[in-house]
Symmetry: C2
Subunit: 225 residues, 2 copies
Amino acid sequence: MKNAVVLLSGGLDSATVLAMAHAQGYTCYALSVDYGQRHHSELAAAQRVAETLGAREHRVVNIDLTGFGGSALTDNNIDVPEHASAGIPLTYVPARNTIMLSLALAWAEVLRAQDIFIGVNAVDYSGYPDCRPAYIDAFERMANLATQAAVEGHPLTLHAPLLHLSKAEIIQKGSSLGVDYAATVSCYQADDLGQACGVCDSCRLRSAGFSAAGVSDPTRYRKIN
Amino acid sequence: MKNAVVLLSGGLDSATVLAMAHAQGYTCYALSVDYGQRHHSELAAAQRVAETLGAREHRVVNIDLTGFGGSALTDNNIDVPEHASAGIPLTYVPARNTIMLSLALAWAEVLRAQDIFIGVNAVDYSGYPDCRPAYIDAFERMANLATQAAVEGHPLTLHAPLLHLSKAEIIQKGSSLGVDYAATVSCYQADDLGQACGVCDSCRLRSAGFSAAGVSDPTRYRKIN
C-alpha cells in the first residue's frame, strides 16, 4: 500500500479525488487547511468526507490568510460575487493552491509518500490561474528540486485527476465510487450548517454539473430573502 | 519606490538580504514564519532586525510544522547534530522554503509587489535541497503560473542575492551596509536569550565566516557545561 496525501477542502471535487485515490489502492492522508475562509463549514464537511471515504488520517492545518486578505473568501469587506463575470473572480485567493500544496509536500515527505492528489479542474471552473495544467506541472517540477526525498531518489508525482473532466463527468465518477455529495460543501458563502446560497460561482458550477450529469442534486440550499 | 517582500528569519543571511534590498531602493515588507522552530528566539531577532534595517512592516505568520515533525528543528525528540556529517543534515525541515516562499508569494500579490527576496546560499550552507539555484529558478517559474498578478502581466522576480557568495563575502557585504550582526540569531539551538551553542552546523558556518572575513564575531555564545 502506497501512502498519498490528498488535499481535501470538503467540496465536491476534492471528495471525488479522495474516492479515486482510495479506489486506486493508496493509503490516503487527507489534509485540509483552515485559512480563515468565509465558508468555514467546508472544514466540517471535510471531516465527514474523510471518515466516510476511508482516509487513514485527516489533519487540519491552521494558517490565517485573512491578515493578507485580497479575496472575497478572506476579507469580509469584499462580497462574494453572485453573478458570472469576465476574468478571474474576486474569490481568487492569492497563492492559495501553492500554500496548500507546499503543506502537502511537507507532510508527504514526512510520511514517505511520493504522491499528492489535488482536485483542481480546468474545464468547469472559476478561471483561477493555480488550477491550470501548466501550473500543476511547474509545481511538480519545483517540488522535485525542493525535498530531501527527491534528492535521494524518491520523486513526487502530483496527481490532478479532474483536470480535464467536466463537472458532470466528475459527479458521475464520484457517484460510481459511492461519494455522498450531500456531505460536501462547495458554496463560497455556505452558512454554519453548510447550507448553500445557490447563486455564487461555485454553486452555479455545481448545480449545472448535477443537471448535466443527470444526477439529482443533493445540495442543501438555504432560503434567501 | 517598488515594494518587495523579504523573508526574514532573524539570522545572518536574511538580515543581509534585507539590507541589500533596502539599499537597492525597495520598500521592504519583512515576513517571518513562526513554524514552531526550536530556535524560537530567532523571531525576536527578526523583529529587531526589521526595525533597524528600515522595513516598512514586519509580519510573523504562524504555521505549526511540529505536527508534521521530521526535523531536528521541529521535533524535540531529534537532537540537533553538533558535528559535521555527510549528506543532508537532520536540521533539514521538509518543504520549509517552499512553504515560506508560498506565503511570501501571497503577501506579494496583495501588496502588488513583484519582487521577493530570500537569503538562501549554496556555498557555505548545510546542503539543504531548497537552497540550490535550480530550486530557486523552478519556484520562480511556478510562481509565474500561479498568480492573478502574473496572468495580468505583472510577473514576479525571486531574488536570491547570496546564492553564490561565501559566508565571508556575505558578512563583508552586510557590514558595509551597516548590519548589526550582534542582533541576529543563527544558532539552531539558540536559547531564549538568543545565545548560541557554538557547535551546531549553523554556528560553525557563521563562526568560520567571521574568521574568513576578518570581522570580529559579535555572536553571544552561551556557556556549555
